[in-house]
Symmetry: C2
Subunit: 149 residues, 2 copies
């Protein structure tokens, strides 16, 4: 893992995370706990829904997308949390057996005025499935430490 | 549960979900799978981090916040998914043993032009902890069925 700080990112730089396959069991476990809508927890109801079968909770798509991004190693060294994210869009359903990975591009870098040891990195995310379809996009922020002088 | 359709919501209407206590074990399990940053999975590292101890992944705060909102019963009958969410902000850390609940307010209602059987409900969320502090806010969308004629 490279010891990257906020100062080491450039606008337009891209990072690609590894694939993660989402099983039916994982979809059911997550949804039963956090998002028990019929099309996430009930095969029979899901088959009759507009989705035509079980789909993953969008919150699980987001969590899996983060895991793929995190494994790309870009922020592991300097991350001290996140203030939030914007414009999250769920574009395509995620189905049992789909393999997701996350591609991000640096869109802005901003040093903190009040705390000179840190700043905000903003990334445009695309989470894609095994056929290259984009299933989710968002604009995410990360609070990163700056390189010590 | 009331059989609410898109047509049954009014701007300014509020819904309050029940409390959900987040355990240390749940924080560790979620983070090990989806968000393995040291301040989410390692007590010792977390104690030395700016957070001063283990905190929940923000993605888990979102998922728990959704579960509380869902249990309020407002969208259970008519929901057919969500196009996305905007302006998510993580405002305060969530720590082991915290009890979260979600309060939402209807901010807009829009019938679909292309598909007259559905439309978009937009909600302003506040996820609060047991002391009334707001730990997360966002603006969420839900695709809801309209009342059949």
């Amino acid at each position: 893992m490279i010891e990257r700080y906020l100062d080491d990112f450039e606008i337009g730089e891209r990072f690609v995370g590894p694939g993660i396959t989402v099983s039916e069991a994982q979809i059911l476990d997550f949804a039963l706990m956090y998002d028990p809508q019929p099309f996430h927890i009930d095969r029979e109801a899901a088959a009759k829904s507009p989705f035509g079968g079980l789909i993953a909770s969008g919150f699980q798509t987001l969590a899996v997308g983060f895991r793929s991004f995190y494994q790309a190693g870009a922020i592991n060294h300097a991350s001290i949390g996140s203030p939030g994210l914007d414009e999250l869009r769920w574009l395509k359903p995620v189905r049992p057996g789909d393999t997701l990975h996350t591609e991000v591009e640096v869109t802005s870098l901003r040093a903190s005025k009040s705390k000179p040891d840190r700043g905000i990195l903003r990334l445009a995310w695309e989470v894609k499935n095994q056929t290259g379809e984009t299933v989710m996009t968002l604009s995410g922020m990360h609070l990163l430490r700056r390189r010590p002088e």
